[in-house]
């Protein structure tokens, strides 16, 4: 038997212990997208599971639950983290931001607008994680170079876009955060004309 086929979702786990402990839950206070949330979850629950299953914040996605794809990226203490590898226990009291928390009220974050506008989200499945990673980059580096963007997103796989529109959307959002009138280039929207 290939080992992983047997595993629950991605991670290996002592199943007897898992079943037992899922019956004795821990109570935690979480700070998610600026709101205090109280959850009762199994001590081995990952942050990904608690976000999606207990808090119904299904905007955060998963591609492996093994720390390999970056799809589940959220911000913890303002830094991108793989929520599938974090025990929720470790996150108590620390600020957590998910894709649902990027917008300001009804106003999407400039990254969200630029991603939608340039087709940086095709299927949109990798998008929440990439937006979180990009948001953290822009917080630290308001005018990142292409190389810095590549590096900041190197842990996030996207199977649809070939990444180029994602780079351009991050660059456009960065420009717009300084100059709201910034526009994408002709070539970004139409390809190169001869």
């Amino acid at each position: 038997m290939p080992q992983n086929v047997k595993r629950r979702r991605g991670r290996g786990r002592d199943s007897a212990a898992a079943s037992h402990s899922s019956r004795s839950k821990v109570h935690l206070r979480l700070r998610v997208n600026g709101e205090e949330q109280e959850v009762a979850c199994a001590p081995h629950s990952t942050l990904l599971e608690v976000l999606r299953e207990d808090l119904r914040l299904t905007g955060t996605k998963h591609g492996c639950e093994l720390g390999e794809c970056g799809t589940c990226t959220v911000l913890l203490d303002g830094r991108p983290q793989l929520s599938c590898l974090l025990l929720t226990l470790e996150c108590e009291g620390r600020p957590i931001v998910t894709v649902e928390g990027l917008a300001e009220g009804p106003r999407p974050h400039p990254l969200q607008i630029a991603f939608a506008e340039l087709g940086a989200a095709q299927c949109g499945y990798c998008t929440p994680g990439i937006l979180c990673a990009a948001r953290s980059l822009l917080d630290a580096r308001p005018s990142p170079t292409r190389q810095e963007i590549r590096e900041a997103l190197s842990g996030n796989l996207c199977r649809c876009t070939g990444y180029l529109k994602i780079f351009e959307a991050v660059e456009l959002a960065a420009r717009r955060m300084k100059d709201p009138a910034a526009q994408p280039s002709e070539e970004t929207l139409h390809g190169r004309r001869l």
């Binding site: 992983n4 979702r9 996605k61 591609g63 794809c69 607008i113 340039l118 095709q122 998008t127 796989l157």
Partner: protein, 808 residues
Amino acid sequence: MAVGSDGRGLRVVGKPVRKVDGLSKCAGVTLFADDIVLPRMLFCKLHRAPVPHARIVRVDISKAARMPGVMAVLTGKDLPIPFGILPVSQDEHALCLDKVRFVGDPVAAVAAVDEDTAFDAMNAIEVEYEPLDAMMSIEEAIRKPSPRIHEYGDEGNIHKKIALEFGDVERGFHDADQVFEDTFYYEGSTHLPMEQHAAVAAVDPDGKLTVWSSTQTPHYVHRALAKVLNMPPARIRVIACPNGGGFGGKSDPFNHEIVVAKLSLLIGRPVKVTLTREEVFYCHRGRHPVLMQIKTGVTRDGAIKAMHFKSYLDGGGYGSYGVASTYYTGALQTVTYPVENYKFDGLRCFTNKPPCGPKRGHGTPQPRFALEVHLDKIAERLGIDPAALRLGHLVPPQSLTANYLRVGSMGLAKCIDAVVEGSGWKQKFRHLPSGKGIGLACSSYICGAGLPIYWNNMPHTGVQLKLDRGGGVAVFCGEIDIGQGSDTVLAQVVAEVLGIDPYDIRIVFGDTDLTPVDLGSYSSRVTLMMGNAAIQAAERARELLATAVSEKLGIPAERVGFGGGQVFDVEGPERALSFADAVVAAEARFGTIGTVGSYTPPPSAARYKGSGVGPSPAYSYSAAVVELDVDPRTGWVRVDRVHLAHDVGRCINPVLVVGQVEGSVYMGLGEALMEEQVFRANRGGVHRQPSLLEYKSPTTMEMPDVVTYIIEDPDPNGPFGAKEVGQGPLLPIAPAVVNAVYDAVGVRIDEVPVTPEKILKALDSPAKRFGPKGVPEVRWPDPIRVPTPWEGGTGRAAADRRPAEARR
């Protein structure tokens, strides 16, 4: 509508409209299948075979069934009716009945109150196997006819054998100035969508079953459920959720979809299944590994007098789309450069690996790779520039090929010109310093298949419109957006015809209860077919509105124009009604306003057996130039830039088109340089690297710049002239990479992926080549002989199947 061939007069089509679901996706609001949570929902896990080929002696579910929290356990005998995507390959069971055919084949299933319990119960199931000899390669499957993996198929472990001849290749080789022969191998690869497959089934107390699934083909899932569950289709509703990437990997009806439906019916509660990433690697249906031999006779200036193409496909454990895939490896060789006489021999083996099926380009990237590298070698031997060789011999527009494919618009010359000029090809080719290389390749792809998967004479797609008094338009279509942007294409097309804002349109998609059938998001069919149906539905609505408005304004109906949210007199646009008022006028005049449109491809010119694969309403064309660096000490390849020109007929949305080109180039580079879906024959047939970390795919660090040139050569069969772009641009990438590697370091890598190891081996070899040595001996059947159009053929096979010499 009056639209110039340059697209002037279009208001919405051709514009970089933001995807209609773009902001929802960026807000994390779009609901994918695993995001669905229903009250009292149970979780399902599948118990899968740990051995590649074995008879099932005993399945003991007693321990699992007794576990607290387990609601039901299923085995094969609970779902005995077979299914499969093709009518000729109904060879799958939702849970294996008497034998397993690959590691990962599901044997039993459990439903339990939570995932942990389901997981424990899955592991408590005991299965006893009697191992059988496993076939792990093409050669092995041909050499060992027994034990048979399936009881059906052409012979032994050969699932399908095909032999077709158009014209007389022997005569063509005889007439040629030179004959060249090469052998190639294209490794298998997998789709790797970021979203793992998931499905939720729920049954309501009145007896209706609903299944939500991450599927590209809700209609086929609907049919498979009705068949296997033995239930009237009218009681089953399939809802396709937006796919988190598909690439062909979610086009088969799957065992897990049927299993959750059955569990839900048995228990009366909703049941969900979400595959692990490892299970996704094992359910596969991806790129077939293909061994190929190509022999071509050419004149001194490069005209192809004859071509004989042989392909050997490694099909894995089930049929899937495999028969179609096999035909596809021989179908599209003829639509780029004229082939005067053409012969195709193809076979597909069953092996004890996950089944192969359609992945982006379905069956055509492999032969295209072979053909384009082969042509590069021929160009060199003839002393002709590879771009000039191709430009000198292009299939003319509006023509029939040797195998009776009807080419419509054909913009390949413009594509080649664009990448040649854009890349500075003429200054660079064979002039770059050692280690730097440039390579060129071209390709073509279908815009939907001319025939449906199961025989019927109904439309391939339908679109329904409901116009609201407030001016909103709801558009219903069974299509499903897998990321390619089909919802947006649909909204743009309807908005164009009705002269309204695409954001005033609501798209209702992929729901077998609510939407007319669309066959699914595969074979690059959606834009062309759905687009045409949408135009028809919208024009019918337009007619009703035009009549009502003409009466109101007292002008003839022909003078009524639509645009900018207004319905107006074209001879005095100030005389106008808002679109909403026009709907009100029409509803007052005719009653509730709803219209339908549908699309059926034109009849094919090909009438021979096997001609179901290849014909299409239109063909897209692409040309690529790849610039790269090869380090001769390490064999490491770094791609610097890709130039890709694609003839999309008419660009409906440039942002979507560029996005499909870049995504295709990315996926093509993955296949060209690193991706391998391979198995360990000496370790019980397990996948070598079933994880996202070890299955190498390009990351942000490897992705080169892509320069995209959109070429528009409108096709009379396309909506506004549009052709496909989702798959075609992948095809020229692998051969262009291989041709560039040769330009850089002078070695021929006749096998993808082009790994550093292969380059080093080729550099060390006397032949300066890495690739397969030959093809297995196979007795091919007498071919079906079809006289070519230029021999006066009618598209039908000749009655006499004896070899040409014997007939002469």
